[in-house]
């Protein structure tokens, strides 16, 4: 099976090397210097004990939401505690306003609703007006998980892992009928009928798919939730070091 494409260097154009190019891509193994090898003595992925909770300082057993609750780590509002030193009275309100007006969604479009989500993010229905333009690819940088599209059992595990990797405060929005209740796939053998079976949802946006205006309405409701300190995240009590009365 001879393919004509695999020997061409795409960056160089149609095969002829370009002397003006700053980046020259090595085409044979001898062009690369011998890499520095640093032996990894800390742990090895082949070692089955490497991923055990508690090994090498990895967090003990935080693998489900239930255990996260019991561990109590998720209830500590670090930002609020730091801000209290500056503006003790209005810290809550200012923090919540800041959070509400810069909710960064995670790029988690699964199916058709993702197209409507992209349509909301582009020029005609610009969601950047509410600060939500950067759809972050990494869960570490995202605030809100907009689940747009049908969740299947195969995808549920990666999605819940994404949710767990998102740092607090975080909110979850169920966009579309498939995430609210299973939608038109209610009787299917391989979908999850409603993501609230696996994730704590704050806002449900029905529709198949919901119009961009519908998604914007849902996000504005979410902003209201954030400011009013309602929703599933805010139900957690604040950290034990916050004095009573504040």
């Amino acid at each position: 099976m001879a393919l004509s494409g695999d020997a061409l260097d795409p960056i160089g154009g149609s095969g002829a090397p370009d002397e003006a190019a700053v980046l020259s891509v090595p085409t044979t193994a001898t062009d690369v210097d011998a890499p520095l090898l640093v032996a990894n003595e800390l742990w090895s992925p082949a070692d089955p004990a490497a991923y055990r909770p508690g090994a090498q300082g990895i967090n003990e057993g935080i693998t489900h939401l239930r255990e996260l609750e019991e561990a109590g780590i998720g209830r500590h509002d670090d930002a609020r505690w730091a801000a209290l030193e500056i503006v003790p009275a209005k810290a809550d309100l200012i923090l919540d306003l800041i959070r509400a007006n810069s909710l960064w969604p995670l790029l988690s479009g699964l199916a058709c609703c993702a197209i409507e989500m992209m349509s909301t993010a582009t020029s005609r229905n610009d969601i950047d007006r509410w600060g939500m333009f950067p759809f972050r690819a990494s869960p570490r940088q995202a605030d809100v998980l907009i689940v747009a599209g049908t969740l299947t059992t195969k995808m549920a595990e990666p999605l819940v892992r994404l949710w767990e990797e998102m740092p607090e405060p975080k909110w979850c929005v169920a966009m579309g009928d498939c995430t609210c209740s299973g939608g038109r796939y209610k009787r299917s053998y391989s979908t999850i009928q409603g993501i609230d079976r696996v994730l704590p949802v704050d806002v449900y946006i029905p529709g198949c798919p919901p119009r961009p205006e519908g998604l914007i309405y849902g996000m504005m409701k979410l902003q209201k939730l954030v400011v009013d300190r309602r929703g599933k995240w805010a139900e957690r009590r604040l950290g034990p070091t916050v004095p009573a009365g504040l």
Binding site: M1, T153, K154, K186, R187, S188, Y189, S190
Partner: protein, 183 residues
């Protein structure tokens, strides 16, 4: 409905066709056994007067009594779609020859037929599940796999507890209050 195509097929494959060549609208159908289908497809692919070089579709079918693999082919020599049905696969242990030696693109289509029906394609280098997780034990498109909500044929038999109290017919003030207090 291409009569010339019918004549060519009968001349070339006459003895191995079960039931002759059937035609309707713009489709021509021939049925062969699973043992013959590899040779038949190779002949259809290679011979210049047949020239069925394009594979349009590869599907598995569970008729309830046995299984079939259905190939749809296209050729520039005729205006009909050709359907080749590899018939008579055993429902409990379906095996069929793989056509990846002719069309490498059939590899995933055969994987899908395996995933959905359990049909084992001999000669496919990569016969594993493609849609469902690897731990899934059933083959969903078989006729003995019932959707859980399929009221007429499932053990649940019409009981759909999630939707019971949401129908306006069943809603009373008591049920509505209970739903809003509980959820």
């Amino acid at each position: 409905m291409d009569r010339a195509l019918r004549a060519r097929l009968e001349r070339r494959f006459g003895e191995r066709l079960a039931g002759g060549v059937r035609q309707r609208h713009d489709e021509t159908e021939i049925r062969v056994t699973a043992a013959d289908v590899a040779d038949t497809l190779r002949a259809l692919h290679d011979e210049p007067e047949l020239d069925f070089r394009m594979l349009a579709d590869l599907a598995g079918v569970d008729t309830g009594t046995h299984m079939q693999v259905v190939y749809h082919l296209w050729s520039a020599t005729t205006g009909d779609w050709l359907r080749v049905v590899a018939d008579g696969l055993d429902r409990e242990a379906p095996r069929a020859p793989s056509v990846t030696f002719l069309w490498k693109g059939a590899e995933w289509m055969e994987r899908e037929a395996y995933d959905m029906f359990g049909i084992v394609f001999e000669g496919n280098r990569d016969l594993r599940r493609i849609y469902l997780p690897d731990e899934f034990r059933s083959f969903p498109l078989r006729k003995d796999f019932h959707l859980p909500d399929d009221a007429s044929r499932s053990p649940g038999l019409g009981v759909r507890p999630m939707e019971e109290t949401l129908s306006p017919r069943d809603a009373t003030p008591a049920t509505n209050l209970r739903r809003s207090a509980g959820s």
